[in-house]
Amino acid sequence: MNMERQKAEAVMEAVLFTMGESVEIARLAETIEESVKDTKAILADMKERYEREDRGITLIELEESVQLCTKPEMYEYLIKIAKTPKKYVLTDTLMETLSIIAYKQPVTRLEIERIRGVSCDHAINRLLEFNLITEVGRMDAPGRPLLFGTTEEFLRNFGVKSLDELPELNAVQIEEFKQQAEAEVQLQLDI
């Protein structure tokens, strides 16, 4: 028999609190002996309650996992008292490389270099080190080049639940680019 609803919430809170890191929803479901679907429903309820004013922590979803974290509005109080977590200083080079990987994944080193116009070995190695990207396979092409993609750490770091939530190049801008392009089919050759 399933454990009661309240108990299930308590168990998941205890597990998430203890683990610290993200826990797959499937594992939580197993622990509370519920289906993944029901577990998600319970988690949604929990999140709703965490969002109330007297709570300092909340739940975040990362693909098929969840994790406990402090609410962003608590930050100013936390930096006063708690040791701030190690912050990655991402240089422009790293940011550019990372954004190409984020939006074009899975992507090869060569493709990144083609877009940026410069080599990116160093940047890729740093991003791998920070665990923001990972090798996701090899391309079925000569030399079988490695393909890179982003990690869960990336999602956490950038505050998005899944890749679908990445900020989009807004429609207005894309449209503008397109119109410009069309208007310029015949570029004026003004040397």
Binding site: G117, L187, D190
Partner: protein
């Protein structure tokens, strides 16, 4: 007027080009190639870099600009559909693509700043729980893995390594693996010293056939100097090095 700019300020040749376009307030689709090329070359002239890899990337872009500049002076090329082809089109495409990702990288940085305001907690297992180490389920882990697969993967990789020879350069002919034996080189250099007594380092290097041989020869010379078998003089940095045999002089 010299503009004090460091190469490091730019992410690469495309970044520099974008900077120039933005500085001149030019429509990206309508780049006045002549002006931009000149400004670009100005920047490159001021660049103070010893990193050939970085420099060459900028030079390639400069060459591309000059190539476009030349093409624009020539009669316009017409494609299959009879449309005039703008030599700048490809560059514009590239710039736009780069610009888009650069823009997105700023967006992402904002996201990151916001997300950085949530803190997490380190794993903290109560003692009673800590004693349990999650076992690795080898059956699941190694389900599709067999010895022959392991061997196959290894063979594949060794083959891939063999194939890694640059497809262009490999057509130049066989690439031989350099195998230079330090001991044999010592014998060789000793013989050389016996027959020359006093000679220039360069004359010794001229007889070496590969980079590896040169390196090993250099190491042998260093070793002999350390052991006091030879004397070394050099007038000025980059001058030829004169080597004199001490052993032979004594004997």
């Amino acid at each position: 007027m010299a503009i004090p700019v460091k190469l490091e300020a730019f992410e690469g040749p495309l970044d520099l080009l974008l900077h120039l376009i933005e500085k001149n307030k030019i429509d990206i689709y309508d780049i006045p190639i002549v002006e931009i090329t000149e400004q670009y070359l100005d920047y490159i002239r001021q660049m103070d870099t010893e990193d050939m890899n970085v420099m060459s990337e900028f030079l390639v872009m400069a060459a591309t600009l000059i190539d476009i500049k030349c093409k624009m002076l020539l009669p316009k090329e017409v494609n299959e559909e009879g449309e005039e082809e703008d030599p700048r089109a490809e560059l514009v495409q590239k710039l736009l693509e780069y610009k888009m990702y650069k823009y997105m990288s700023f967006e992402l940085r904002d996201k990151q700043m916001d997300a950085g305001r949530s803190l997490y907690r380190e794993q903290h297992l109560p003692k009673e729980v800590e004693e349990y180490r999650p076992p690795v389920d080898y059956e699941a882990l190694l389900a599709d893995v067999s010895l022959s697969k392991l061997q196959e993967v290894f063979r594949f990789m060794m083959k891939r390594q063999e194939d890694k020879i640059d497809p262009v350069r490999s057509t130049f002919g066989r690439i031989e693996k350099d195998e230079v034996d330090m001991d044999r080189k010592v014998v060789y250099v000793e013989a050389f010293i016996r027959s020359h007594r006093r000679f220039s380092f360069r004359s010794l290097l001229e007889k070496q056939h590969s980079k590896m041989e040169i390196i090993v020869t250099f190491l042998v010379i260093l070793e002999m100097m350390k052991l006091g078998q030879i004397d070394i003089e050099q007038q000025d940095i980059c001058d030829d090095i004169i080597i004199t045999s001490k052993v032979m002089a004594a004997g």
